[in-house]
Symmetry: C2
Subunit: 402 residues, 2 copies
C-alpha cells in the first residue's frame, strides 16, 4: 500500500470547525486507498500562549522545561484530530513525538533529528489505522522531550516520510502554494506548479517564509517528493517540490525579498593575508551565518570589508567586529539595518551569463542602486536600500516572470 | 536522606502567582534537608476546558484519545513548577507520568496503577534535584497514556511515596484539613489533628470529598503516612492520617452527610431462599455498588426489599430492578431520590454499643425519622429525608463532638 504523509500547520487547526474539516480531508485520502500518516502542529496561537505563560515566571525560561511545556500543544492537536477522524468512522492512533520514534540530540528548543525509528507507526499502519503524530517534538538520548525549533513540524513530516518511504509528503498550509514572488507585494505573482529542492531551499533562505529550510534540506537529502498545498481549497493543487533536471537555458522560477538583513562594515583595516579568515572565523565560532561578503580593492595597503548577517545576529556580530577592528587597527566599524536583499532563483542560471546583467539592468531601470552582489549556482542576490526593495522586486519580477 | 512527597492540586496552581508561591514551599522543604518529590495536578479548570473541547467534536470522546488530551494539563503544570523552582536557584527535573514509571492497566480514563518503577525518580533525587511528576496519569502496558480518574493525583502521590519509601506524603489543598463535619454546614466543626486510615476511608466514602478513596486505600495498604494541609496557610498543620491503635471506649472522630444517595424498593416479592442473592448479583454484575440493604420481615410469604445506590447509578439499577421485579412476581418497584445519609465515624465504636443508641436519640430529638440503618466496625449510618439531613447532622455533631 502506498503511504501519504500529510502535515497540517497551526493555522489549519485553529478551532474545532477547522479540525473537523481537516479530518475529512484525511479520511478522503484514506478512502482513496492510501495508508495515511498525519503530522500536526499546535492549534493556532497555542505555542505563543505557552511561551508567554513561561515568561511570566522567568524572562529566560530554561530550555528543557520549555520543551516539555511546548510539546503539550501538539499533543492536544493529536488527540482532537484523532477524535474527529474516529467520529467519521475511521480508526486513528495518536502518537506524541517520542512514541513516534523521533530521536534527537539534547539541544533543547532547537534539537536536531538523529534518527527515526518508525516501528510503532508501521505497526499501526499495518492495522489499517490512520496514524496521527505530534509534530515539532522528539525525545533525546537522555529521555527528555525536545522540540525542533520554529516550523519543526515540516521537518517531522518530511523525516517520517523518508523513514517509511512514503510515496508523497503533503504540506498543508493557509496559502495556495509557492509563488513566483510574495503575492502581498506583487499582485501579478503566479503559483509555481513545480520546483526543484535547490530552488525551494534558496527561496527558504531568501526570506520566502513558506517552509523551514531544514525540512527542505532533509527532503533533498532523502529524495522525499513533497507538495505544498492549501488546506481549505480542495481544488488547489499547490506546488510540487522534487528532483528536477537542469534545463537548458536560464529559467528564473521566482524572485524574493528579505528585509531581515543587516550589514556590517569594517573600514580601513591594514591589509595583510589572513585578515578575512580571522574575521569570519571569529564570527562563525559564535554560530552566526554570514551571507554576503564584499572586500574592496586594497588602497595603500588598507582594505574595507562589508558583510551581511541576519538582523537577529547583528548585535553580537557587531560586538565581535568592533573588538576585532580594534585589535587589527581598523579605522572604524559601522552597522546598517537599512538594507534588504532582492534575489532571483532558478535552475540553470549559471549556464546563461546574461541573466545577471538583465537583473542589474532591471534594478537600474527603476533608479535603484545596488550595493552588494552575490551569486550561487541557482541564485543571484543584490543588496539595495530598504525603501527601494519593493520597487526593485517588482521590476525584476516583470523582467523575468510576467 | 528522608524524602517527602508533596501533592498540589489544581486550586493551588490556579495562576502564575500561586505557582510561584508553591515553588517557595517546595524549596523550603528542600532547604530543611529533605529529598523532595512533587506531584502536580492540572492548573485550575484546565481539565474541564479540555473535556469541553473534546465534546465539541463528539458527545462521547473516545477514552484513549481523551486520556492523551487530558494528560497535557498536568504536563503544563510540571513545566511551569519546574521553571519556578529553578528560578529560585534550585535544580528541578520534570516527569510526565510515563517517565515517572507509573504503569497502569489499559482501562482509559479510569486506569488502575499496576506497578511503580521509581528508578528515574530515584536517579534524579540522587543528583540532589527536586523531582516534579505529572499526577493523574500513567502509561499502559500497550504504551498508551492513561489517566487515573478524578482525584487521581492524590493516588499518584501516595503510590510514589509508597514506592520510594517516603517519610511522609503531604497532600496540599485549599482547605485547612479534615474536619469533624463539613464546615459549610456546621460552623462549629473542628479540625481533626489525626485520624486513622479506616476512618478517613469511611469519610471518603461517606460524602466528605476531601480525598479520593482509592488513594486512602493505597496509603492504608502500604502504610504510607500522609497529611492533608492547606497550601496557602503556612501555619496550618492540617490533619495527619496514619495507622492508629483502637482506643478503649467509643470515640467519634467525625460526622458526615451524603446527599448523593438514592433508594430503590421492590414491594411484595414472593419470599423464597435466594431472592436477595439474585437481585444483588444482577446489580453487582453491572458494576453498581449497593450501600445499604433492608429486607423487612416476611408477611404471608411476601417480602419488601429496599436498598441504596449512588444517585449516578440509579437509572441503571432501577431498570434492572424493574425487570427482576417482573420476573420474580413482585407487586411494584419504586425509586426515591429524596433521601440522604448521615454517618458517624470513629474507631472503637463496636466496643461501645451505646453509641448507636446515642446517635438515633440525637436524630429523634430534632423530630427526624430514620428510614434505614447500617453499621460497620467504624461507622454507623442512617438514611433520613433529604430536607431533614442537615438538621439531623447538626444534632449528631453536637451530641458527639461539641
Amino acid at each position: 500500500m502506498d503511504i501519504i504523509v500529510q502535515k497540517y500547520g497551526g493555522s489549519s487547526l485553529i478551532d474545532i470547525e477547522k479540525i473537523k474539516f481537516v479530518a475529512e480531508r484525511i479520511v478522503e485520502t484514506k478512502k482513496n486507498g492510501y495508508g495515511v500518516v498525519v503530522v500536526v502542529s499546535a492549534m493556532g496561537k497555542t505555542t505563543d500562549n505557552l511561551i508567554s505563560l513561561a515568561k511570566q515566571i522567568t524572562t529566560f525560561p530554561p530550555a528543557r522545561e520549555l520543551d516539555l511545556l511546548l510539546s503539550t500543544g501538539e499533543m492536544v492537536s493529536v488527540s482532537l484530530v484523532c477524535m474527529a477522524i474516529e467520529n467519521l468512522g475511521y480508526e486513528a492512533e495518536g502518537f506524541p513525538g517520542y512514541f513516534a520514534g523521533i530521536k534527537t540530540d539534547n539541544v533543547h528548543t532547537k534539537a536536531r533529528i538523529q534518527k527515526i525509528d518508525p516501528k510503532n507507526i508501521i505497526r499501526e499502519l499495518n492495522k489499517n489505522k490512520i496514524v496521527v503524530v505530534a509534530g515539532f517534538q522528539g525525545i533525546s538520548f537522555e529521555n527528555t522531550i525536545t522540540t525542533l525549533g520554529r516550523g519543526g513540524s515540516d521537518l517531522t513530516a518530511i523525516a517520517i516520510a523518508a523513514a517509511i518511504k512514503a510515496k508523497l509528503c503533503e504540506i498543508y498550509t493557509d496559502v495556495e502554494g509557492v509563488f513566483t514572488a510574495d503575492p502581498n507585494i506583487i499582485s501579478e505573482a503566479k503559483l509555481i506548479k513545480e520546483i526543484s529542492y535547490d530552488e525551494m531551499l534558496e527561496m527558504a533562505w531568501s526570506g520566502a517564509k513558506v517552509m523551514q529550510a531544514r525540512a527542505v534540506e532533509f527532503a533533498k537529502k532523502y529524495k522525499v517528493p513533497f507538495v505544498v498545498k492549501p488546506t481549505f481549497n480542495k481544488k488547489g493543487e499547490g506546488t510540487m517540490i522534487k528532483e528536477m533536471e537542469v534545463k537548458e537555458g536560464a529559467s528564473v522560477s521566482a524572485v524574493s525579498i528579505d528585509k531581515n538583513q543587516a550589514k556590517i562594515t569594517i573600514f580601513r583595516i591594514p591589509d595583510r593575508p589572513g585578515i578575512a579568515a580571522e574575521i569570519f572565523t571569529s564570527i562563525g565560532n559564535e554560530n552566526i551565518n554570514v551571507d554576503m561578503i564584499v572586500q574592496n580593492v586594497s588602497k595603500q595597503n588598507y582594505a574595507d570589508i562589508s558583510f551581511t548577517v541576519d538582523i537577529n545576529d547583528l548585535e553580537k556580530a557587531f560586538e565581535i567586529s568592533q573588538k576585532l577592528g580594534e585589535k587589527l587597527g581598523a579605522e572604524k566599524v559601522e552597522k546598517d539595518t537599512d538594507i534588504c536583499k532582492i534575489s532571483i532563483i532558478g535552475i540553470g542560471m549559471m549556464n546563461n551569463p546574461g541573466v545577471a546583467g538583465r537583473m542589474f539592468s532591471a534594478i537600474a531601470k527603476v533608479g535603484v542602486n545596488i550595493e552588494m552582489i552575490s551569486t550561487s549556482e541557482i541564485k543571484i542576490s543584490s543588496i539595495v536600500r530598504k525603501k527601494d526593495g519593493e520597487k526593485a522586486l517588482k521590476q525584476v519580477h516583470k523582467e523575468f516572470i510576467q
